[in-house]
């Protein structure tokens, strides 16, 4: 159960301990995606995993989601070891992964529906989240008819509507144009401040990381591990041109590994 926020020290909500993950390579031998991976996430913290492209950020998210299990080490969420996908963890995918045969409403209410929530209650809840992401009026549209930014809003509403304790976001704005991306970041912050969740957000965009994060973990190239950690105390909403913002931007950019 979620803790009261007032007066208590926030506990470690997600714990990744000595995580190592290997895949068999196509030819022979093993490909090591992650090793010595240790980090924790506090309840209601907005954690950003930042690292170069293909560094294994998504692999980490997939392990927390339960799609893949670590080769060794352990991942616990709220004290429970992750053994597979589960509704208490919500995921927002880079490619949106909306169900094309369902309307916006159908997508958002899917989680509660398969978990057996009654129609009236789940409709009400879905409507709340559709309104929250600013899609009122589009309830009966099919995904094929709405823009990329709107699709991702549906993805966020769908994950939120299932009331997960953790939100996993895998470069959700990676496919959007720059202008839409700024707008989505702003709106995501507003949503998160209204409805706090523990968030792990993966990105390879330093500005995005700095705009959103309570804390940034800089990851190394494969096999990935935590290279540096930054607590971001800048007041919200943040300003991309604020001198402190730019200073951090420069500092973190110099730390991160570069790949071609």
């Amino acid at each position: 159960m979620r803790m009261e926020q007032t007066g208590k020290v926030k506990k470690d909500f997600i714990v990744c301990k000595d995580v190592m993950e290997e895949f068999p390579k196509a030819d022979e031998g093993m490909f090591r995606v992650a090793e010595n991976l240790n980090f924790t996430v506090k309840e209601n913290e907005f954690l950003v995993l930042f690292g170069p492209g293909q560094c294994g950020k998504t692999s980490i998210l997939n392990m927390i989601a339960g799609f893949d299990l670590p080769t060794s080490g352990s991942i616990t969420v709220d004290g429970q070891e992750v053994k597979g996908p589960g509704a208490e963890r919500g995921m927002v995918f880079q490619t949106t992964c909306l169900f094309p045969w369902l309307t916006v409403m159908g997508n958002v209410e899917y989680g509660p529906k398969v978990r057996g929530v009654g129609k009236k209650e789940r409709r009400k809840k879905a409507q709340h989240y559709i309104d929250l992401v600013g899609l009122q009026g589009f309830e009966n549209h099919f995904p094929v008819k709405i823009s990329g930014g709107m699709k991702q809003r549906v993805g966020i509403a769908r994950a939120y509507c299932n009331e997960p304790v953790v939100m996993l976001m895998d470069e959700p704005f990676g496919h959007l144009d720059a202008q839409t991306r700024y707008l989505m970041q702003e709106d995501l912050m507003k949503i998160w401040e209204r409805e706090k969740r523990t968030v792990i957000f993966v990105t390879n965009n330093i500005e995005e990381a700095l705009y959103l994060a309570d804390r940034i973990l800089v990851l190394t190239n494969c096999p990935t591990k935590v290279k540096a950690e930054y607590k971001i105390d800048l007041p919200r909403p943040r300003d991309y041109t604020d001198p402190d913002f730019l200073k951090l931007r420069k500092e973190i950019s110099e730390v991160v590994d570069h790949t071609l």
């Binding site: 996908p85 963890r89 992964c97 169900f99 899917y110 398969v114 094929v144």
Partner: protein, 263 residues
């Protein structure tokens, strides 16, 4: 060039389509009236008049409408069974690797055989009976539907399965809420091809062995050197075939609206 609204484009299609058909009939008429082609082929007016006449006066045992209905009934009876069987087998083949391993080679082997190659067997087994027609129609549609549905299950986006699992869907719910809707467009494309195959096969079957149906009209026309009757049969086959496809498309557009790009 000015862009046209969808309504204008639809109207253009209807106008030009109607004009083209009319023009085709006029050319057909003129060619048969002005050239020697008219000695070996009837003109459209005679054919249309004959079609109208045979809707009232029987041709053989029943009227033209009767023949058409007999053929459609034969197709539908076997088609429904083939569709149901093909959908079930296609889905289970796609979902269970064991079922796939067992049935896929057999189906890949039988599928390329054209339905009319089965006609001799159907006659030796079932003779004049309706069963000989059902047998053929079943073969003409079952494999097409099975393979189409099977490939539909195989091409379900694994990311959508992930998304559904993440939202709490259990295995049986994955099946009903993700697999089945993903496969619906494949079912329809299978049904459409199968229905075309079936209609072509029933005509062939009736030409070889029957006492009723549109294929029978053509073959008795040949036996009595009645060119008007042959062309009457051909026109009926074309029109009914076209209507069957249109009905299937209409159904698909209704059920798969989400799959249509753009407007």
């Amino acid at each position: 060039m000015q862009t046209k609204t969808p309504a204008q484009e639809r109207r253009d299609k209807i106008v030009f389509g109607t004009l083209a058909v009319f023009l085709f009939l006029v050319i057909w008429y003129l060619v048969t009236k002005l050239t020697a082609f008219g000695e070996i082929f009837p003109d459209p007016v005679t054919v249309l008049a004959n079609i109208g006449d045979k809707f009232v006066n029987p041709l053989g045992k029943v009227t033209l409408a009767g023949h058409i209905l007999v053929s459609i009934r034969r197709v539908m009876a076997a088609f429904v069974v083939a569709a149901a069987g093909g959908i079930v087998l296609g889905v289970t083949m796609g979902w269970y690797p064991v079922v796939e391993a067992i049935f896929k080679p057999i189906i890949e082997f039988l599928r390329p055989i054209p339905p009319i190659a089965w006609i001799p067997i159907s006659i030796l087994w079932y003779g004049f009976s309706e069963m000989s027609k059902y047998f053929l129609i079943f073969l003409a549609s079952f494999f097409v539907i099975t393979i189409s549905v099977y490939s539909g299950v195989k091409s379900v986006d694994p990311m959508l399965i992930r998304a559904a699992r993440m939202l709490g869907a259990k295995d049986n719910q994955l099946f009903t809420t993700i697999i089945i809707p993903s496969v619906v467009p494949y079912i329809f494309s299978g049904l459409q091809v199968a229905l075309g195959n079936s209609w072509a096969s029933i005509v062939a079957a009736e030409m070889v062995q029957s006492n009723m149906g549109v294929g029978w009209i053509i073959i008795t026309g040949q036996q009595s050197s009645n060119m008007v009757q042959i062309v009457t049969g051909i026109v009926c086959i074309a029109v009914v075939g076209m209507l069957l496809v249109m009905i299937m498309r209409g159904l698909e557009n209704k059920l798969c609206a989400w799959n249509k790009q753009g407007r």
